[in-house]
Subunit: 124 residues, 2 copies
């Protein structure tokens, strides 16, 4: 018996036609908060150092205050941390996700019931 | 003066660890409903015929009833249409999106206000 996985909702918010906030950036912010390192946070997501840095730079440029503060260089590289703005953005993104999942729960359950294996009664 | 674009929310719903419904599939369903053709719907999204067919087959396999009915072959190819299940799935997906945007509006507005150009006061 496998434990049935409940449906999961992933959100991407597009601001105007430039700034974008989605599950990848949110997970990266979480990782930086938890590990104190941009490269460790990226690595945990299977992301190159370069890619993780580029996403951080993109976020820092898109918001009025930087979301991630980092000290580059030194042996082992400098550490990184979320700024208060970074904590706030992560919190708001997570709140949108939670509210969306709650607000759409009835429709999501109806979609799930229409799946071939919508009953989730064990099996694959 | 450019007209400021309001934030837009894109949703991806992951059912268990297999079936997935997101903006691409929803837009493809819309296109098929509107054009009566899988290839025309895919083309409008810059998607190859093969890719559009593969997404339709994936959706038809994931749900208990097919979402798209199609008549293949013939000169110019057969037409395609949403089945009642397809109409329903599209409707439910759009309802989740609308409810999510409404439920998260306050947080999305707060995120937008934190952007460097969050005031959206003209310009790029």
């Amino acid at each position: 018996m496998t434990v049935p996985q409940p449906p999961r909702l992933f959100l991407r918010i597009l601001f105007g036609d430039a700034a974008m906030l989605g599950p990848g950036k949110a997970q990266l912010l979480e990782g930086i908060r938890d590990t104190g390192s941009i490269s460790a946070a990226g690595r945990a997501m299977g992301m190159s150092y370069k890619r993780a840095w580029s996403l951080v730079e993109e976020m820092n440029a898109a918001f009025a205050e930087p979301l991630v503060a980092s000290a580059r260089g030194g042996a082992g590289g400098g550490g990184a941390a979320l700024t208060p703005a970074g904590e706030r953005v992560l919190q708001l993104y997570q709140a949108v996700t939670a509210r969306a999942a709650e607000a759409g729960a009835a429709e999501i359950a109806q979609l799930q019931a229409m799946l071939r294996h919508g009953d989730m009664s064990g099996g694959k």
